[in-house]
Amino acid sequence: MFKNLFKKNKHDNNNENDNIAIPKKQKLVKSLNDNIALFKYIFKDDETIIIRDFQNKQLKEANCCIIYIDGMVNTEIVNENIIQPVLRTDLSVDIESDNLLEELKRKVIVSNDVTIESDIDKITSSIIYGDTLFLLDGYDKALIISSKLWLTRAITEPESSKVIRGPREGFNESLIINLTMLRRKIKTADLKFKFRVMGERTLTKVCICYIDDLVMDGVLEELEQRLDSIKIDAILDSGYIQELIKDAPYSPIETVGASERPDVVAAKLLEGRVALFVDGSPFVLTVPLLGIENLQSNEDYYTNYIYSSFNRIIRTITAVSSVAIPSLFLSLVTFHQEMLPTPLLVSVSASRQGVPFPTSLSLFVMLFVFDILREAATRMPGPIGMAINIVGTLVLGQAAVEARLVSAPVIIITAITGITSLMNVGFIGPIIVVRSFLLLVTSFYGFYGFFFGFIIVVLHLMSIKSFGVPYMMSVTTVRDHNGQDAWIRAPWWVMTLRPKMIGSKNLTRQSTEK
């Protein structure tokens, strides 16, 4: 903050060369015209700024002026609650008396949030934030009247994670609305919100949110420390922070979770985690993140436990197979043909007749093409997306095989890989990296290369910690209570405890007493 001030000062000092009187202490002056000139200077080339001066019908000498930014304010409030009362009211107070501003604030202006302010910095940021500045001639103070206009997206079901069962609301871009949505879920005074402003230019509001008597020891301090070390000029989405505070910087694996759903965030808070809301982003970060959370869905907790356990197993299998299947296929058909059953060997051999490119290369290329199609389909508007689908199916599925550019099994493997990786959208990035890595070592060294590569990946995963919690914590346990909510989801009456380490401050989730 000091640095900020210092920078601002410097900036102001440069302005002195322009011969415009700016008060040294950055306070308002008594002259209305000077003040207006000042703000005109501050918002020099900004034509959205609106400066409107007017007078009360009785007190002719009390010149007033309001300054606001067009579009940021609710004009109804400005017209009916500020201008109209000030114009029409009977003011019997003497203009010279020192409390006219106070009188206006107390008796005239109809607004829920009015403050008296004289610091130019604060006033400027308030104007930018959508408040209306009310200046009165002869006063070196001004009123800041809350008149923000929040044009927000409606609360809809998030596109990134849809559910069949469960609440359909999702966060939107407004921090305050997001916080309310969370507050409505957890109605306890222990739910704490800590605000801070980040990004030197965007001045984005960020809110650290936690439940006081549940939050994991040390995480809060660690998070604040990491946030302190961020010196970035802009934060446009929580993704900026997500990457800046992550534990293993070079690793493709995320150690900070992101969710668009209030119920998910509430559940994570209730397990002892910390959430980080960023203004302007519907994605709320949660720390610490366990690897297993990528395979969990909020729906798991709302549906029958057998069904959700089954779904989790499917997700696990698809996650593993989307990284492993191309390499396994490659190792089988190019290194260890003795492991294929004879009929399969014959049919694979038949499909490869006349194909010029090596299997490894065609796998690489086809997977790459699939990713191109995926990316194109996500970015394209709906109708064109359909076209891409058709071209993709035709080019990939039919023409390439018939033209003998690739063999049919390669297409099948690509399709399986693609679909399984799309099932785990949350960590498609790491999946692509790991898959390519495994494919590379496999094309060198066959199945053994694949297995070594797999060991390396697991070693890497095991070495990662997210805010002091091992990333793969719940993975290897079956017996202790962390395993209840890992590969499977135990019935609710069994999950009486919060996860170890994260929820260790208060482990009991369900009281077992009768």
Binding site: P341, G446, M462, M472
Partner: protein, 366 residues
């Protein structure tokens, strides 16, 4: 830096996996032929006292590794000399294990791939694992080893149709002598090699766990090793002795309903993983030894170079596969005897005396 810790369960798996190491591949009790199972059991029983001594040592000095203990008990100079011996032993053992693995790949799976490539692949994975530290290594073992056990168990079930129990007969055809020879090999080859693990046990969570880990680790390891080598005899009969890697062929005989067949890959996975664990532990202990000898800040600084040296040593160590099996069964037991039995016994006796002395002093204080 936070001290690395491994849980008891992971340590047990580490122990068992270390025992399985290359043994699961080469088999035990070469001389004993169809009495190999008996040789295995005798070998296990023989090794129990030694394992008790190792556990006792790490119990007396919790949180210290092998080299700290040697330093503490034998004094600065002698301790350093024995430390050097153990470092070299562990280093050499790691190289032998890598060689074993690469030889397997070269003969059984990929004859056209140069042997040094196999060594590099395994060696680089070990280097990576050791640089990450014992904690992530043991966690990886905690994830893989139970899966491996399940897989071994399923494969054992699948071989049941191929078992020929008459292969176990005649019992003790050549008397007890070859059985004891085989038992001695088993004693030295996998079971008491665990002296190397003393270099890792400093990361155990609790003081008492050393006994528990030795016991359960030995139990799991021994059961798997003995059942595997018995299975090889039961499936292959006399042929098991003439194959370098009998497990591979024994599993290749499996054919259940035309569908589950050609599953040698399971053997390969078991082998690759256990060999990886064993050579990583050896590399880790060797690096810790170097750290202790030269008073380095951290063992991680020398991991890459030591690992590379290990790879090169494994490349030049044997000229051919005959020498490898000759070494494993004939030379190795004698070569390893001082490190596995003589030094630990001496160290243990001195340690006990020291502890007694300290205990005698204590009552005066009270």
């Amino acid at each position: 830096m936070q001290k690395e810790q491994i849980s008891d369960k992971e340590a047990i798996f580490l122990y068992a996996s270390f025992l399985l190491g290359s043994t699961a591949l080469v088999g035990i009790g070469g001389d004993a032929k169809n009495d190999a199972w008996l040789a295995g059991i005798i070998g296990v029983i023989m090794s129990i006292p030694m394992l008790l001594i190792y556990s006792r040592l790490s119990n007396l000095y919790p949180g210290r590794d092998l080299f700290d203990i040697l330093d503490e008990i034998l004094g600065k100079i002698l301790g350093k000399i024995v430390s050097i011996i153990y470092t070299l032993f562990s280093f050499h053992l790691g190289a032998l294990v890598i060689h074993n693995f690469a030889q397997f790949i070269n003969t059984a799976a990929m004859p056209e791939t140069p042997i040094i490539i196999s060594m590099f692949f395994l060696g680089l994975v070990c280097i990576y694992a050791v640089r990450l530290g014992i904690e992530s290594l043991s966690k990886t073992i905690g994830l893989f080893f139970p899966l491996l056990l399940i897989m071994i168990f399923i494969v054992q079930l699948l071989t049941i149709p191929n078992l020929h129990f008459e292969n176990l007969k005649p019992f003790l055809a050549n008397g007890l002598k070859p059985v004891f020879k085989g038992a001695f090999t088993a004693f030295a080859f996998p079971f008491t090699e665990t002296v190397v693990l003393l270099g890792v046990f400093s990361s155990l969570k609790t003081k008492k766990s050393a006994y528990k880990i030795s016991f359960f680790g030995l139990l799991i390891g021994a059961i798997v090793i003995i059942s595997l080598s018995t299975r090889n005899t039961l499936v292959l009969g006399g042929l098991a002795g003439s194959l370098y890697f009998p497990a591979h062929v024994a599993v290749s005989m499996i054919s259940v309903g035309d569908f589950i067949q050609r599953i040698e890959v399971t053997v390969a996975i078991t082998l690759v993983f256990n060999v990886f664990v064993k050579s990583s532990v050896c590399l880790l202990v060797a690096c810790r030894g170097i750290k202790k000898i030269f008073n380095l800040v951290e063992y991680r600084s020398v991991v890459i170079q030591t690992g590379l040296l290990m790879i090169f040593l494994s490349y030049i160590v044997y000229d051919n596969i005959m020498l490898m099996t000759y070494w494993a069964f004939k030379v190795y037991p004698y070569y390893a005897f001082p490190m596995e039995v003589i030094f630990p016994v001496i160290v243990w006796i001195v340690a006990e005396i020291k502890v007694r002395k300290a205990n005698k002093l204590k009552p005066v204080e009270v």
